[in-house]
């Protein structure tokens, strides 16, 4: 599942696995066991970008370099090499003229000049252009480029949060106003918009599913995505098909410099004046949306279980002066941090998980915290309870390797996504929900995540049910993390 998640997230992972293909060499006395496979990569071939099974050392050298290049060329994805035990262990002959080929990474594919010029024309001439981004930014430069393009056009941006793409407090960030900005847009550009369709339409998940477009029927669509270069048939990773007017099968981040240059070239004085008016209105709307988010957060402020908004606000008060990095998912947490915190650096958020499976968050957060460690960043995770139970030993891994990570439990005592779904199905059939809790809730007994963490050498407190106890507990845990160790605060929370 970890490989599948990396594939869906377009993350380059270099995987080398062992095998023992020659059955005549399988001798238990020497520890060579019979559990080998003819085609070891077959199990994951549907969700790696490339794999190979080298049969000579020179073959391995060339495939090793090739694999790295393939993985690092957008669309990035995992690669896998099978290293047979004979290849690993046999002596190298003095006659072997082995060499490692030169590695030169390929430049990412960019939109062609004609399409870029046409896209710029459409955006500049539009009355209400809109930019939709999802799995877009690969680097800080990607964020900066998007800010430059949006400011050049004074165009709103909807960030679907597949990655850290656009500053949350930027006045052109209109992610909380999706319906309004889509409905008024006459040109909409998707940048690595994994699910462009859902940005432009609504769907009601009732007995009979219905959908309706939000966008104008004559709105023009532009797409720049490497998704057009990489689609697999069996293990699928695509949403509904969106018909567009201009499609560039290209890496959006690599295409933006030329698009910005062309856009600036085409802007006239009159258009610039119109852009400024548009920008001022969008900035005011952004401020209103932020105030609305703060008002929404104030409800159930003193509730027990603790509201997710309260956890978010209390946590922010403690980490805002750190060089922080939020290394967890946010969907189950009502996206509060993205609504309330000022994100502007590429490492401040790890994005959504493409694979969608339970059990991703805990290992991913430990991995991201490990990556952050050498930069001295303060890693914080909002950790779902059900998710942690899929691989709780990552807590020991974090303790053993002294990985500084603050995990704040979103302990709603349920596989809540599933609980809601079971209830929805029960309601559809008017059969009540008196059995919806079976297999979906963690009651009788409840789980004590502080004790779980403590058993693996992690400093932990909780379960906290009184919101007023949260701040001091967070301060104590943060002190531990700043010493270079993991800590966990178990908070019993509202469902979402």
């Amino acid at each position: 599942m970890a490989i599948y998640n990396a594939y869906c997230d377009r993350v380059p992972v270099y995987i080398v696995i062992g095998n023992n293909l020659d059955a005549t060499k399988r001798d238990a006395a020497y520890g060579e066991w019979p559990h080998s496979v003819q085609d070891a990569a077959a199990m994951v071939r549907d969700y790696v970008k490339w794999d190979d099974t080298p049969i000579s050392l020179q073959h391995f050298a060339e495939s090793a370099v090739r694999a790295y290049k393939v993985a690092m060329t957008p669309p990035m994805a995992p690669v896998l090499l099978v290293a047979d035990s004979e290849l690993q262990e046999n002596p190298i002959s003095a006659d072997d003229a082995l060499h490692i080929p030169k590695l030169t990474l390929a430049s990412p594919p960019q939109g062609d000049s004609g399409s870029v010029a046409e896209a710029a024309r459409m955006l500049v001439q539009a009355q209400n252009p809109l930019i939709v981004v999802d799995r877009y930014a690969r680097t800080q430069a990607g964020i900066d480029l998007l800010v430059e393009l949006a400011e050049t056009l004074q165009a709103p941006v909807i960030d679907q949060a597949g990655r850290m793409n656009f500053p949350t407090r930027h006045p052109l960030n209109q992610s909380s106003r999706r319906n309004a900005v889509v409905a008024s847009a006459d040109v909409i550009m998707g940048l690595e918009a994994t699910d462009f369709w859902s940005a432009l339409n609504t769907m009601h998940d009732q007995v009979r599913r219905t959908s309706r477009p939000i966008m104008k029927s004559d709105a023009k669509l532009i797409s720049i995505t490497t998704g057009d270069l990489y689609t697999k048939a069996n293990y699928q990773d695509f949403y509904r098909y969106t018909g567009v007017d201009l499609a560039m099968a290209a890496d959006a981040e690599a295409t933006l410099p030329s698009l910005i240059e062309e856009t600036k070239r085409q802007i006239t004085v009159d258009r610039k004046r119109a852009f400024e008016d548009r920008g001022a209105k969008l900035a005011a709307a952004h401020d209103r949306a932020l105030e609305q988010a703060r008002t929404d957060a104030s409800y159930a402020w003193d509730a027990s279980p603790v509201s997710t908004a309260r956890v978010c606000a209390e946590l922010w008060a403690q980490i805002k002066d750190e060089d922080w990095s939020l290394v967890s998912l946010l969907r189950h947490f009502s996206w509060w941090p993205l609504r309330l915190w000022p994100f502007d650096k590429h490492y401040q958020y790890i994005g959504v998980q493409g694979g969608g499976g339970v059990g991703y968050n805990a290992p991913a957060s430990v991995g991201a915290a490990l990556a952050n460690k050498k930069h001295g960043r303060f890693s914080v995770s909002i950790q779902d309870d059900g998710d942690l139970m899929f691989a709780p030993t990552v807590l020991w891994t974090a303790a053993h390797h002294r990985i500084p990570l603050l995990s704040v439990m979103h302990n709603n005592r349920a596989y809540h996504e599933e609980l809601m779904h079971v209830q929805r199905m029960a309601n559809r059939h008017s059969r009540g929900i008196d059995r919806a809790h079976i297999g979906t809730t963690f009651e009788d007994p409840t789980m004590d995540f502080a004790k779980l963490a403590q058993s693996m050498g992690v400093y932990a407190e909780g379960p906290i049910t009184d919101p007023n106890e949260l701040a001091p507990a967070l301060r104590r845990a943060i002190a531990v993390v700043k010493r270079g160790e993991p800590a966990l605060v178990d908070v019993v929370t509202q469902p979402r």
């Binding site: 909380s176 009601h204 703060r294 159930a300 509201s307 609980l419 309601n427 008017s430 469902p495």
Partner: protein, 132 residues
Amino acid sequence: MKSFRGCRFDAGAALAIALFFISLHVRSAIAAQESKPADAPAGNAENGKRIFTKNGCYECHGREGQGSNMTGPRIAPDPVPLDVLTRYVRKPTGEMPPYTDKVVSDQELADIYAFLQSRPHPPAAKNNPLLK
């Protein structure tokens, strides 16, 4: 198989639902002032809390009815009028599953309504130092 809908940040969609409710609330509140249904059953807030939990209303709307941009709008402490709420619960037009009277009776809805009305109003966000 459970749905992964909404795995992308989309505060706007839920906000639209919330605005629908707010709009509904304003229009209905005016109507309620003009003609409050005489046969509306009186509610028991304590029992309403129990039903709200037992029937899973809390799963999407929160245990205080505070709502979530991912699952369901805020419905407390100022719910729409009871007759409007009852009509919506029986035949929802949004994401909410329908609750027939086999699942929750009119009296139980009145109890839930009383519970929602009993929830405390929060202090103003502008006066909350943690929300600045």
